[in-house]
Symmetry: C2
Subunit: 195 residues, 2 copies
């Protein structure tokens, strides 16, 4: 079985790979996150996942690199990670009571061959109405700060999410079903890692 590298510093992505029983090595890279204007959400997450995989590849000899990028989109506008409490509260006030989308772009790159696959997953998230007081208590927990859209569905914010449509793990940051499908195209069957 080939060595698998995860080009991500996200602890949530590591937990998700752990969940499905993959063995992997974490590679941390820095990539330029600014993008040309006019890209769709899908184009943005795919481009960034390609950059992340591409930045990791030159450091490595053989195996497969996995990279991903996740964004939250409300009414066509991308919400990134909040810079401070005020931004976090503003994002949450916009998201509460409505439906938004989460996109993750994934790239899997074969180091010893020439195959590079990119794909994406899209999930709709329905948030319930939430009061300003509740959202302020949520921001005070600091959970929003390293998360696109200022919330973590896998954390306290679960109580704000009435339901989703699509892949849950996409909302956490790495769509596991899609990833497993992409790895299969590179002849890596995740179930072969199970013990």
């Amino acid at each position: 079985m080939p060595t698998i590298y995860l080009a991500s510093s996200s602890p949530r992505r590591r937990e998700l790979l752990d969940q499905i029983g993959l063995s992997y090595i974490v590679i941390t890279t820095e990539v330029e996150e600014s993008l040309p204007p006019g890209l769709s959400p899908v184009e943005q997450v795919i481009m960034l996942s390609r950059r992340k995989a591409g930045a990791a590849a030159p450091k490595l000899a053989e195996g497969i690199v996995i990279a991903a990028d996740t964004i939250v989109v409300l009414d066509g506008q991308v919400l990134g990670k909040p810079a401070n409490k005020i931004e976090a509260l503003a994002m949450l006030e916009r998201l509460q009571g409505g439906i938004h989308e989460v996109f993750t772009g994934i790239t899997v790159m074969e180091l010893s061959g020439s195959r590079v696959l990119s794909d994406y997953e899209r999930t709709e998230v329905q948030m319930r109405d939430a009061s300003r007081d509740e959202l302020m208590r949520y921001v005070a927990t600091k959970e929003p700060f390293d998360k696109a859209g200022a919330y973590g569905v896998q954390g306290l914010a679960a109580v704000f999410v009435a339901g989703i449509r699509g892949c849950y793990f996409n909302v956490v940051g790495l769509p596991l079903f899609k990833l497993a499908q992409m790895l299969k195209k590179l002849e890596v069957d995740v179930s072969n890692y199970w013990r």
Copy 2:
């Protein structure tokens, strides 16, 4: 804030309450799980959640008891926990490639007052096609054995789930959004537990 009791021995339900920051005490009770014939899935899970809460209540003085029961339903037929490898494989072969439903009944019971609320959540789960070999490798991990429908979406089986419609945490065993709403009716705001 009232003391909260979780009438469940499920480690997954405990993890879910931990996730949303609740403080609680686990109460283990034995209840008769056999049901009168002819009940709908919703009636079944609500009745069992009421029995579980009712069995815990006499042991306790005051506070709130939470109890839940989760089932998997395929084409109107309830799938319980598999008794052995053969049953687990048979259930997974039936679920693969199709859509099934997960129902959880929840009861929240006020010990010092007279209020008892019961409600349920329903989620649709789309499973991808899976080969017999993959499913056998999954059964060999023993993950299916203490789980309704013979899979754990929060575990290795994530790679079998193409998408869901509704509350993800319902599929794990305790719908957090619904639970928080029910607790609010008893004047318990989950966000008051956050630190």
